[in-house]
């Protein structure tokens, strides 16, 4: 039988899915053992149990001075920035995307500009950004917005253009104005796509967040990683990396679920 027609049984499937994770864990464990055997003080690949201990401590032990648990404070601060950045980016891109997709005038005026914008490396502009928006929360949020919005706009405006012309014509024959078409025909139909596009750009959003927090912040996941990187405290870094991965996964899952629940008319599509 051809390999492509062979389906694993249920238990085999679960085993297969677990395999790469287990392999990575074992590889790490071996690497860590080797390094620690050579130098028990090695910080690069701390033993798994060290990481577990550190993680336990980070998640539960409050800072003596301030009384708050740093990891949660960092998480909260970072998620807040992420939410604002992505939220503002989504709002801008919805407006501009619908404009570009629906109105020929706006399309002519903005589409090549957005195309060029999306090519500018935002990290290189960090100094200017910080000077224009200050070093507070604004500049971090703005970096996320600048980083993801051109992509979102291009994706959404393409989706607006993909809406069958027939639907737009139909709406016009029912007497809809441009405004009503944007609001009642186009907007609801690109909302699921907005969620999909946000899911795609969340990776970039995290990246920009971490980069911005590395430059100027007093709290935040990226800040903490940056701070302890100087001491090569890999147990803390790895805890944070795993935690960020988990958060990213949860956010992605939440968005996917939201999309399925909120848009029943998609009928399983997307």
């Amino acid at each position: 039988m051809r390999l492509l027609n062979r389906h694993p049984t249920r238990p085999t499937g679960i085993l297969l899915a677990a395999l790469p994770f287990v392999a990575v864990l074992i590889a790490y464990w071996i690497g860590s053992e080797i390094r620690l055997a050579a130098n028990p003080q090695d910080k690069l690949l701390p033993a798994p149990e060290t990481i577990m201990n550190t993680a336990g401590r980070l998640f539960t032990e409050p800072n003596k001075r301030t009384g708050e648990i740093l990891l949660w404070a960092d998480t909260f601060a970072s998620l807040r920035r992420l939410a604002f950045g992505v939220g503002i980016g989504a709002l801008i891109s919805l407006t501009v995307g619908v404009g570009i997709g629906l109105l020929p005038y706006v399309r002519r005026g903005l589409s090549s500009f957005v195309a060029v914008l999306s090519m500018v490396p935002p990290l290189a502009l960090l100094p200017i950004l910080f000077i224009v928006f200050g070093l507070g929360e604004t500049s971090k949020i703005v970096l996320i917005v600048i980083g993801i919005t051109p992509f979102l706009i291009r994706d959404l405006s393409q989706r607006v253009l993909d809406i069958p012309h027939e639907e737009i014509v139909k709406a016009q024959t029912l007497g809809a104005s441009t405004w009503v078409i944007a609001l009642r025909v186009v907007l609801p139909q690109i909302l699921p796509r907005l969620i999909a596009a946000i899911r795609l750009s969340l990776g970039a959003a995290w990246l920009f967040l971490i980069a911005a927090e590395a430059v100027a912040a007093e709290v935040g996941l990226g800040y903490r990683i940056f701070l302890v990187r100087r001491y090569l405290a890999m147990d803390i870094i790895l805890t944070y990396v795993i935690w960020i991965t988990l958060l990213a996964f949860l956010i992605d899952f939440a968005l996917k679920t939201l999309s399925r629940k909120a848009f029943p008319w998609l009928g399983g599509g997307l």
């Binding site: 639907e167 016009q172 009642r184």
Partner: protein, 263 residues
């Protein structure tokens, strides 16, 4: 007493003529079927009637008014696909025909309730009351087209334009849709233009059948000339004997297909 008047209409795309010198007078309440080989410009002509496009030359007027510059409520349309809004329930699709001309495209409170009641009546009439709360994607093709027609009619257009409305349906469904359309026609007295690939359908439903074809043909430059109305049949009393039309215009049968090479 011509209601829809088409005068010397030409349409070109990128300098390529598609439709040439079309003239037509249609009385109010007439049902006009349009047939022709694939790609000859039937849909283009429908778009011109719809005012979705402006003809390169010539003018199309309704009831002696000025030519429309964009689609509006006086012209309803049903396409082969994408004629209903996928993100609205069946009932909301009907309500949309009332609410879209309003400022925000929405009804609220009492108005919404009234509009919904009227929509339910329409759904009852088109036999979709039992799926009022479903989304179109859960409906069969025939039910979707029925909804599209119901929606178009609910806006009370003076002209209804149909572009192969039953093209994607299977023969059984198609027959039942014919019945449905005939029934609706009996109730209102709209002017209808219907593009179809199925000669039988055209003659069965239409009062007139227009045939689009090229009158001039340059074998070296097949795209040099556009199509125009070459025949205008009276199709009342089922247009008997329409079967002979194929002998007169063989291109209708071959449609998009070159004849198989002899071997």
């Amino acid at each position: 007493m011509s209601f829809v008047t088409v005068r010397d209409v030409f349409q070109e795309y990128d300098g390529r003529p598609i439709i040439e010198r079309v003239n037509l007078d249609v009385a109010e309440g007439e049902f006009v079927s349009i047939v022709g080989a694939s790609g000859c410009g039937k849909s283009t002509f429908l778009r011109l009637l719809l005012a979705d496009e402006t003809p390169t030359r010539g003018r199309i007027t309704v009831d002696g008014g000025t030519p429309a510059r964009e689609p509006g409520r006086e012209r309803g349309v049903v396409f082969q696909k994408y004629s209903v809004f996928p993100h609205m329930t069946v009932r909301d699709n009907i309500v949309a025909a009332e609410s879209f001309p309003k400022g925000w495209g929405w009804f609220r409170g009492a108005k919404l309730r009234e509009a919904r009641a009227r929509a339910d009546e329409v759904l009852e009439r088109i036999g979709l009351a039992h799926v009022a709360k479903n989304y179109p994607s859960t409906l069969s093709g025939g039910m979707q087209q029925r909804l599209a027609i119901g929606q178009a009619l609910h806006a009370r257009p003076r002209i209804l334009l149909l572009d192969e409305p039953f093209g994607a349906l299977d023969p059984g469904t198609r027959l039942s849709m014919h019945e449905f359309l005939t029934q609706l026609r009996a109730e209102t007295s709209m002017t209808v233009f219907m593009v179809t690939h199925d000669l039988g359908e055209g003659f069965k439903l239409g009062d007139r059948v227009l045939v689009f074809d090229k009158t001039r043909w340059d074998p070296d430059y097949p795209e040099r000339y556009g199509a125009t109305i070459t025949y205008d049949f009276d199709a009342r009393d089922h247009g008997i004997p329409y079967q002979h039309i194929l002998d007169k215009i063989p291109s209708l049968a071959a449609a998009s297909e070159p004849a198989p090479a002899p071997n």
